[in-house]
């Protein structure tokens, strides 16, 4: 735990003088930019190529089926609706005909309001796979506001991707 005082004072002397005269630091700067010409580029040509997303990437929230049985995972517990800070989830559920539990009538996420915080995934009670999850979809531009209110079908199948023409 020490405190360092930065004293930016070049020591006056012949060497410093020579450096100033010969523009030493300007040459060093030029060398840095020259060197960087041969470093790999960092930009990607976006629609043609995309960056690799990490497994935890939080794109738009979506619902999923049970991958084995193909049934709906969501048990309509409304927890994600409650915890959502932006009120973007809207769930309508009804009692199951056999009286045990509830089932979904409609499940809507308004992507215009969603802030991609991922809080809806935390309380989801289905194990081991959560019914709602943060997908890797992020291309969701649309021309109409209605296009951002995703119904159950969109949530399960994903947003219809827009193909960019070459």
């Amino acid at each position: 735990m020490a405190t360092v005082t930065i004293a930016p004072r070049p020591v006056p002397g012949f060497k410093e003088f020579l450096k100033t005269i010969l523009l030493a630091e300007l040459w060093v700067g030029l060398w840095v930019t020259l060197k960087n010409q041969f470093r790999p580029h960092i930009t990607v040509e976006y629609p043609k190529e995309t960056v690799e997303l990490s497994p935890r990437f939080r794109g738009v929230p979506r619902l999923r089926f049970n991958p084995e049985s193909g049934e709906e995972l969501c048990i309509a517990c409304h927890l994600c609706e409650i915890v959502c800070p932006d009120d973007c989830i809207h769930i309508v559920s009804e009692k199951k005909p056999d009286g045990k539990g509830k089932r979904l009538v409609s499940f809507e996420i308004n992507y215009e309001r969603c802030c991609f915080c991922g809080l809806c995934v935390d309380p989801c009670p289905t194990k081991p796979l959560t019914a709602i999850y943060m997908s890797h979809d992020y291309e969701m531009a649309d021309f109409k506001r209605e296009g951002f209110v995703a119904p159950l079908k969109t949530l399960l199948d994903g947003i219809e991707p827009t193909i960019y023409k070459e």
């Binding site: 405190t3 360092v4 630091e25 935890r56 915890v83 991922g118």
Partner: protein, 365 residues
């Protein structure tokens, strides 16, 4: 026969070098600034009021959007405040990971500052180099919490998940290459006579003024006042780390630059220590399902990359805070801008605004 008059010039809110929607009203006497008034509020979103209608876990995404350049520091401060109110002890592993995240965030934030500051002064390439390195940090954050800017990375009581496999090695790799890259920025700027000429002796802030105005962070330390929250009031196990607090001498733009450059090096030091001593164990303390801090009030400060970031929460025993107040360093540091600029040439303003490193989301809230 002749008379001179002062001229009012409006700078901003849409101006490339005010870094957002800051508006400055400059009163000029020729080229000299005789008065300056920062006009803020263009990015006001009423976050403090919004917080009163959110439960405690729901507030964390809001804190992301205050200082969006250093969201993890905000997350850390907010979670720390709620944990303080509830008396939760965060597991050591979570604390260390939080330190790693916060210090990476400090580097990322300083890199963004450095790039834009250099860009304001005309050095274009530095911007791309700093963003290249910042991108590496953002990739690390994306791997950890899934987002690149508004992280929502922590949870009250610790972290949501432990770090993914191989993440710590990536951090190690980053801090092993970063000093070399920082050397390159220094080659381009620190010694460059044009850069030194444009920053040294410009926008001087005296220690007395700085303390009186409540300035904090690197802007304060550049004046020579030794105050760093990480050491003055250690939080999140910062007392267990060895690091230097760099201080400036003249309080000018060049010193603020040097202090931040040195801070990035110290960040690497802290991260290295945290990686070496990272304990095993849980990353989240046992927390009740519904977070209801007892009635009362709590104030918690963290050292964000911009300075002292405070969170003041008045609780009424319910699920939502009764009142929430953020002490944002950008807002307070911005107050020092007129005293830095008065009596100087108008051409200095760009360099000075860049050097105090404000984020308008943090100023206006």
């Amino acid at each position: 026969m002749f008379h001179t008059e002062e001229m009012d010039i409006n700078m901003g809110p849409q101006h490339p070098s005010t870094h957002g929607v800051l508006r400055l009203r400059l009163t000029l006497d020729g080229e000299t600034i005789s008065d300056m008034r920062p006009i803020i509020g263009y990015l006001h979103r009423g976050v403090e009021k919004l917080c009163e209608h959110r439960t405690f876990p729901m507030i964390e995404p809001l804190t992301d959007r205050l200082d969006y350049v250093a969201a993890i520091s905000e997350n850390l401060g907010y979670c720390g405040a709620v944990e303080k109110a509830m008396g939760i002890v965060v597991p050591p592993r979570a604390q260390y990971i939080r330190v790693i995240l916060a210090e990476l965030q400090r580097i990322a934030s300083h890199l963004l500052w450095l790039g834009t500051h250099a860009l304001d002064l005309g050095a274009m390439s530095v911007f791309f180099y700093t963003f290249r390195e910042r991108e590496m940090i953002l990739d690390l954050f994306e791997a950890f919490c899934g987002a690149r800017l508004t992280y929502n990375s922590m949870r009250i009581g610790g972290l949501l998940e432990d770090v993914p496999a191989g993440w710590l090695d990536r951090v190690r790799h980053f801090i092993s290459i970063f000093p070399g890259r920082e050397k390159e920025y220094e080659d381009l700027l620190t010694v460059n006579r044009i850069f030194v000429g444009r920053t040294r002796g410009v926008g001087i802030l005296t220690p007395q003024d700085a303390v009186a105005l409540g300035v904090s962070g690197p802007t304060l330390r550049a004046t020579g006042v030794d105050y760093d929250v990480r050491r003055a009031q250690p939080y999140c196990s910062y007392e267990q780390f060895q690091f230097d607090v760099p201080l400036g001498r003249n309080g000018d733009t060049y010193d603020r630059y040097l202090v931040r450059m040195e801070e990035m090096r110290q960040c690497c030091r802290i991260i290295q220590q945290a990686l070496d001593r990272l304990p095993d164990g849980e990353v989240r303390a046992k927390v009740a399902k519904y977070i209801k801090p007892p009635a009362g009030e709590v104030y918690h400060v963290v050292e964000s990359p911009r300075g002292e970031q405070g969170f003041y929460i008045v609780t009424s025993g319910g699920e939502m805070p009764y009142r929430m107040r953020f002490r944002s360093p950008s807002f307070v540091n911005l107050q020092a801008l007129p005293s830095m600029c008065k009596g100087q040439l108008v051409a200095y303003v760009v360099a000075v605004i860049g050097s105090i490193d404000i984020v308008l989301g943090d100023v206006d809230r």
